[in-house]
Symmetry: D3
Subunit: 145 residues, 6 copies
């Protein structure tokens, strides 16, 4: 069984995230999309709302499981038996941040990270953009699945 | 069958390239390592030498095939039935270049590109470095498989 | 009438911002410099102080209007009839952030963003630097208009 | 008269270049698209072919002039009375290169450079990509105007 | 006397920081490692803990002094008679940030900043990573001196 | 004796290079400025011209020696007993390139590389810019020492 974890705060999950999952699906038996819960972070969407958006995006797809977790991503991988991490990269700043994280996860948990580059038409779509639109009553739904 | 192409000039194939292939292996049924032949480029190592270095690096591994090709990488993928491209990314400059290429291959050939970030201890190893050492009688063998 | 908006938190407006406005002026009939008000952000300079610094910098220049706004920048542009956004870019990190924003404003509001690269002698001048100097009783006035 | 120069090797002029000119047009009385001729560079498309592609892209638009030049871009600007340079920026590597050039043109010729960020759907389109497709009999026409 | 300041929040001091100091030591008569105290920042490790980690890392080395300070780094340099600042740079994002800071310190305090690039095997080690591991009961000690 | 090598093609040596040497001087007993000779590279200025420009820039300064070499920079360091390499970094692209080189020189020759960030007013000055001006009869002397 090849399982991959796609983890994040997903505040909220966007059509950019959805695109990454759809492109990674052919490579794995199962993809677990999991929301990392961190009490220190103030989120705009509640955990329940965030889980609901992800679930609706994939509509009970047999190879996708939606979950949440606390603690280190690497330890959650061990628990759910995921050997791979999936990450989308939008630009060079994302890349630099993700690169450090991938190397720490390799060193500490022997986890392999696979990167997908965001599709051109979605490269500007981020959770930050959606939150900004949401707070200011803009058309945030355009970027939700 | 999930097949991936790892294409490049590989002038020469380094321990950095070898690392990427080893890390990608668990995800695929077969990885084809193919040297793109381009008459305009002056290479330091001959095609035969370059093929030999790759072959010795994997020593008849049953899931690895070594080949060479001319023309567009995307068309070679169709011919050998590879649905995925594998790329190693060492830093933000690599990333930017590879990002454009991946998006063109998606648009023109509907090919998916998977990125692996080079292991920390190999992030400075490149074919250019090896060529520089080789030309100046430095210890280039240190970075060959 | 070609109108451009130069929007920001301007906490505070620096000689770097002033330079961008002066360089953009020949292109437009009017430039509106507007401070985006965001209750969540804690600012070091009050809105009144920030407006005052901008006003003094341009001293009733007939083609420059100073204002403040809440909500989305794109909607404020529609309201004041500005067809262009002006942005200064200091470095690659600025660039990446601004690039996403520009593409969202194009997609959501059909707004065009023009970029000016900060003059060499001012490329290290930022509101963050000025705030740091201000808080620690350093010579922050050096970087104000 | 506000005149801008859009200069380049344009080997060849792509739909990405065309997009930049169309977006800059509302700001200027005239845009001069000029091919810089450099004997040292080996081009894939001849000067005549390159001029023809640009001309056909804009089809005698009254505000667009197509030309070629030798020597420094800054001196050509003086000659044709262009006060502005227009540049498209696709990514952080472009940005860094263009930033140096803009600052040299400011210092040496007092020329102002305006930057436009490439539209998301065209950010991977470059003359290099088109040349690669052309040489390998790929669908290069897809990216020409 | 050539003295250098290595300043930071050091929340906490990592083996990456230790590596920079060891590599800079041959160049100076004395290196002062000083923790900048900023009441606005919430730190995970207390000032006492942070000082203790640094002290234990260098174990009374005759050429290293450990200290803390408030206010501007540039003014602290004057006070302790340090003519140089030492900084480690892990990647392009660090570089951009540090570049601005170095130019401000040059302009405001005539201080010279020397940069060392983090060793390959430590390039992913940061205080943020250690804090994340610490909060989630991961093996954070691996990255402390 | 603390000796540092400042090596490069220096085609030609610019006021940017001169600035780096002047800023590094207080740290070393001797700085050797050496032109790396590479038969494959076509240079615009001859080796003699390049050496002459460097010599005139420092006018028999007692702590500066001007030289040329072939082969690997690391081996030349051993020969002249230089323990440090000095490099100027203008931007993130320079940084990425220099970072790889520094790590290879550390690994292969146990050499330490010190980086200085180019002064703001000189960050756009490069040998490429000077060559471009020289070839097109522009004011290239402005950027020579």
């Amino acid at each position: 069984m090849k399982n991959a974890l796609f983890a994040g705060t997903f505040d909220p999950f966007t059509i950019g995230h959805q695109d990454i999952v759809n492109r990674a699906l052919p490579l794995f038996d199962k993809i677990i999309i999991a929301i990392g819960v961190n009490d220190e972070k103030k989120n705009v969407f509640s955990l329940e709302e965030r889980l609901e958006i992800v679930k609706q995006a994939f509509n009970n797809h047999p190879n996708i499981k939606v979950d949440s977790y606390t603690g280190l991503t690497g330890e959650f991988c061990k628990k759910i038996n995921a050997q791979f991490l999936i990450r989308g990269v939008r630009n060079t700043i994302d890349f630099q941040y993700e690169s450090d994280l991938a190397q720490a996860n390799k060193e500490l948990f022997d986890l392999e990270t696979l990167f997908f580059i965001t599709s051109t038409t979605l490269s500007h779509v981020s959770s930050s953009l959606v939150k900004e639109l949401y707070k200011n009553k803009g058309n945030y739904l355009k970027y939700l699945p």
